[in-house]
C-alpha cells in the first residue's frame, strides 16, 4: 500500500472535468485507489459518487492511497491529474 498527499490545482476544485478525469484515470489501473479529503475517511477514487462526495476545492490537500501491483504508477498518474490546471488537459 502506498500513499501520497497532493494539493488540488484545478481552479474549479475536484468537480466536473477534473473529477471525471480523476475517476477515468483511477480506473486505468489494476490497483485499488482511494482518495481522502483532509481528516475524512477515504472513498473509492474509481467511483464518481465517491469523488463527488469529497467536495474538494482548489488548494485543498487530498490523500491518495493505492494498493496493488501498479500502485506507484497509479499514484503518479493521479497526482498528474490533480496537479494539472484544467485548461492544460488533453482532450
Amino acid at each position: 500500500m502506498m500513499e501520497r498527499t497532493v494539493t488540488i490545482v484545478p481552479e474549479a476544485g475536484l468537480h466536473a472535468r477534473p473529477a471525471s478525469k480523476l475517476v477515468e484515470t483511477a480506473n486505468e489501473f489494476e490497483s485499488e485507489v482511494q482518495i481522502a479529503a483532509d481528516g475524512e475517511d477515504p472513498v473509492d477514487a474509481q467511483s464518481m459518487l465517491g469523488v463527488s462526495s469529497l467536495g474538494a476545492e482548489h488548494g485543498e490537500e487530498v490523500r491518495l492511497i493505492a494498493d496493488g501491483p501498479d500502485a506507484e504508477a497509479a499514484l503518479d498518474a493521479l497526482e498528474r491529474v490533480l496537479s494539472t490546471p484544467e485548461d492544460e488537459y488533453d482532450e
Partner: protein, 154 residues
C-alpha cells in the same frame, strides 16, 4: 449540513414518483418543472441553459444508478433539490455505465457562493450508503422521499 438547511432545499412538492420521460434532456426539463411549479425558479430558460451547459462539460451520471444534473444559475430563486426516479433507467454517461434510476437536480442561485457543490457533496455522501438508495427506490410517497433524504444528509 443541518436539518434546517435540508428542510429549506427539499420538500415533497419537489418530488415526483410518476414515471419521468426516458431520455436525459427531457428528464432534466421534467425535474426543472418540479422546481418551477414549486416557485423556486425565477427564469426557467436561464436555469435550463445552465443545467445543459454543465451537462455538456461532463455528464452528471455518478454511477450506482444515480444522475445529479446541477447548476449555479441566475435562474434559481433559492437552493433546491428536485427528485424523480425512472424504472427503466436513463443514460447519464456514468463511468460505470449503469443507467440512472435515481435522478436528482440541484439548483442554487448565482449569489449562493459554492453552495451547489456543498449540496452535491453532501448528497453524494448520503447516496454512497446502499440502504439510502434502497429506501429511495422503495419510498411510496414524496413525503417518504424527503424524510429519507433529510435523515441521510444530516
Amino acid at each position: 449540513m443541518d436539518e434546517d438547511t435540508i428542510d429549506r432545499i427539499v420538500s415533497p412538492e419537489l418530488v415526483s414518483l410518476e414515471e419521468p420521460p426516458a431520455n436525459k434532456d427531457a428528464v432534466i426539463e421534467h425535474l426543472l418543472d418540479l422546481a418551477v411549479d414549486a416557485g423556486r425558479v425565477s427564469d426557467r430558460e436561464q436555469a435550463l441553459a445552465d443545467l445543459l451547459e454543465r451537462e455538456a462539460e461532463t455528464s452528471t451520471g455518478v454511477g450506482k444508478g444515480i444522475g445529479i444534473p446541477h447548476a449555479k444559475t441566475a435562474g434559481a430563486a433559492e437552493p433546491t433539490i428536485a427528485f424523480t426516479r425512472s424504472s427503466e433507467g436513463i443514460d447519464f454517461g456514468a463511468p460505470d455505465g449503469e443507467p440512472a434510476t435515481l435522478l436528482f437536480m440541484i439548483l442554487v442561485p448565482e449569489a449562493g457562493s459554492d453552495e451547489h457543490l456543498e449540496i452535491l457533496s453532501s448528497l453524494s455522501r448520503a447516496l454512497m450508503n446502499d440502504e439510502v438508495r434502497d429506501d429511495l427506490h422503495t419510498a411510496e410517497s414524496p413525503k417518504e422521499v424527503t424524510t429519507v433524504l433529510t435523515n441521510a444528509i444530516t
